[in-house]
């Protein structure tokens, strides 16, 4: 045990003596969260909207005024035909077109519902999301006001949202969970894979091997310090997204932390596995960065929804741990669901972790090649 603690102490010394490592460990995640978070939480002010009013009645007039006077939007143009929509987007100043269907006011009074379409410029996903969300909020507000004098609670305006260029835009809340997922696996796998290959490269591994330290002690000795630091990192990231962006944790925070620990552990053991197959630090960095970053960004559902991918990619993404963690973290943070809805993903991560540990202990060479 004393041997093991001595080893852990040495690892901490390495970490604290290397400012660059500390910077990567804490600085980069914070910076990424801030960058991504800022990008998605931009306030909109005076975003250009064009109005296509096919009804021209009192109600549409009032609703248009309410939207324009909210301060979030400014009217760029009044359109006359559907055909103008294409052009108005091409000009670039208009972020969304609001369309009132023909006989909007009449139907609202006679049938109790009318529909309104919002077409947003999907080439700027974040702005598009915000514009539509704000518009919907204003419309909902408007319905409430209308409902009282009409004494008819069934009045509804159905906003129908379409994206002009990027029809599959998803909620912006996915970004922060996605970034957390990406950062944790990158940092953890990178750190541990580099720390072991460094010992190989400097020849210190030879001496460690010719010592009474057992492989599992060396592996755990490498994992534990980074586990502790990464967990602090998780707390930091969650605090940042809470205080700076107001990202909620709707579900159990304990469950969230427990899942994060599992995910960190999985990533660290993956890093160990990477180190057992790489000859030097360069390779380890390359495998960790390129081998993990691109698949995580592209295939884990972080940016592109898995359901829209060709089946092949869907199958490929099944071996990616981030795919499952994104589901877990989004469920807990945004939907507020409990373990019953994410036990499958959790179980998969546990199995992966055990698999990686088993494999790295097996692959960890007690001798040199």
């Amino acid at each position: 045990m004393k041997r093991f603690l001595g080893f852990v102490k040495k690892e901490f010394l390495h970490i604290f003596r290397d400012y660059r490592t500390l910077f990567i460990l804490f600085g980069i995640p914070a910076a990424q969260i801030l960058i991504f978070g800022y990008a998605v939480s931009m306030d909109i002010k005076n975003a250009g909207v064009a109005i296509l009013d096919l009804s021209h009645d009192e109600i549409t007039q009032k609703l248009t005024d309410k939207i324009i006077s909210s301060g979030f939007f400014k009217r760029t143009e009044n359109l006359l035909h559907y055909n103008d929509i294409d052009n108005v987007f091409k000009k670039g100043k208009t972020k969304a077109v609001i369309i009132f269907e023909e006989g909007f006011g009449k139907r609202l009074y006679s049938e109790g519902k009318a529909s309104l379409s919002i077409i947003a410029d999907g080439s700027e996903p974040n702005v598009a999301t915000l514009v539509t969300n704000y518009t919907i909020a204003i419309v909902n507000d408007f319905t409430m006001e209308l409902a009282v004098p009409a004494l008819n609670n069934s009045i509804r305006i159905q906003p129908e949202v379409k994206m002009f260029y990027n029809p599959n835009l998803k909620s912006h809340f996915m970004f922060v969970p996605g970034v957390i997922t990406l950062i944790l696996i990158l940092i953890c796998a990178l750190m541990t894979s580099v720390t072991i290959t460094r010992e190989k490269e400097f020849g210190t591994m030879e001496v460690l091997l010719v010592s009474p330290l057992r492989p599992i002690q060396i592996i755990l000795g490498k994992v534990i310090p980074y586990f502790i630091l990464s967990f602090i990192n998780v707390l930091l990231i969650l605090a940042l997204s809470w205080f700076v962006f107001g990202l909620p944790v709707k579900g159990s925070i304990i469950l969230l932390l427990a899942e994060c620990m599992l995910y960190i552990l999985m990533s660290l053991t993956l890093g160990i596995l990477i180190s057992t197959v790489s000859k030097n630090m360069q390779q380890a960095i390359f495998i960790s960065l390129i081998g993990l970053m691109l698949p995580t960004i592209l295939l884990s559902g972080f940016i592109f929804p898995i359901e829209n991918m060709p089946k092949v990619y869907d199958y490929v993404s099944m071996i990616l741990p981030p795919r499952y963690f994104i589901v877990i973290i989004k469920n807990i943070m945004i939907k507020g669901t409990g373990l019953i809805y994410i036990w499958k993903e959790t179980l998969i991560l546990i199995v992966m972790t055990l698999f990686f540990i088993g494999l790295s202990v097996r692959k960890f060479k007690i001798r040199l090649e």
Binding site: R3, G6, L13, H14, G203, E206, V207, V210, L213, R367
Partner: protein
């Protein structure tokens, strides 16, 4: 007396290259045993087999009476190993390195301080310095201290003197000599022939084969011919001219002179006449005693 290392017929291949070919030797207790040979001769591979880091393809090896393949766990506790590149943590201080290796081997610096005091005292004034900031000589002393800290029965030093200046090297060999009194057996490798004389016994190794094993004195005495040094200002011309002389067997540059052997093992006036005829008049010829390197050359020529 028990043999610390007993090796018979060890071979090791990497792909198609034979790194070690039928290596047999034995090392006695408290001996300083040197493996002398150029880079690529197989010294490091052999040392990795001795330290249980590699398994031989063929042959048997017993270290400290234990089997390298099956008893490696027990064996590793009793070996102090200093690999070719000094295995120090560059970002830890001198003191931290030493403490780390002590704990890993389940001991403390205080417990075995007496063993390393001679060596460590040289670097103790710098104990707060990062190992990466030490000079070559100091790194070498720290690495040796780290390898000794658990009082190993066998000390394995792979090229400890490479890249270190002559002063530090000389001190290093003095230290190894002193370790003998602690009953520590030392095997050491070096590409530098002149270091052979500092060992009790040496094995000359080349291309994975042992050319000779004996006390260094006896290896020198094994030189089969009379050896002469020939000196002239124009060395290059001298070598070429000597090679053309019919009675010359071998002529090799050796420092500031040329080491020559003759078919008839003697120098007579015909040599001087020949050299003068070729335009070299300032020669000085002396008989000399062969060194390890002369013997190594002779053995290499024999095997080729």
């Amino acid at each position: 007396m028990q043999n610390v290392i007993e090796s018979s017929g060890i071979s090791k291949n990497f792909g198609t290259t034979k790194a070690l070919n039928d290596i047999s030797f034995s090392v006695n207790e408290s001996e300083v045993f040197g493996f002398i040979g150029p880079d690529g001769a197989g010294k490091t591979t052999l040392f990795r087999i001795i330290t249980t880091l590699m398994l031989p393809d063929e042959g048997e090896i017993k270290v400290l009476g234990m089997n390298c393949t099956t008893d490696y766990k027990e064996l590793r506790k009793n070996i102090g190993y200093m690999p070719g590149r000094f295995s120090l943590y560059q970002d830890l201080t001198v003191e931290e390195n030493l403490n780390f290796y002590a704990t890993v081997f389940g001991t403390t610096v205080e417990e075995n301080y007496e063993l390393i005091s001679d060596i460590y005292s040289h670097i103790e004034p710098f104990k707060k310095r990062l190992a990466g900031k030490l000079s070559g000589g100091m790194k070498q002393k720290l690495a040796l201290s780290c390898a000794l800290i658990h009082k190993p029965k066998l000390l394995v030093l792979d090229e400890p003197t490479t890249g270190v200046d002559a002063v530090s090297r000389s001190e290093f060999w003095d230290m190894l000599g002193k370790l003998r009194q602690h009953n520590i057996t030392i095997i050491v490798s070096t590409p530098y022939m002149d270091e052979a004389m500092r060992c009790d016994k040496v094995a000359l190794i080349q291309d994975g084969k042992i050319l000779a094993i004996d006390a260094p004195q006896k290896i020198r005495d094994g030189f089969s011919r009379k050896l002469f040094t020939v000196k002239s200002v124009e060395k290059y011309k001298l070598i070429n001219t000597l090679r053309k002389y019919p009675m010359t067997l071998t002529a090799y540059p050796f420092g500031d002179s040329v080491h020559v052997t003759f078919i008839n093992d003697m120098v007579d006036n015909s040599l001087f006449d020949y050299l003068i005829k070729e335009g070299i008049s300032d020669v000085v010829v002396q008989e000399t005693k062969a060194g390890i390197e002369d013997r190594f050359l002779e053995l290499m020529n024999k095997t080729e």
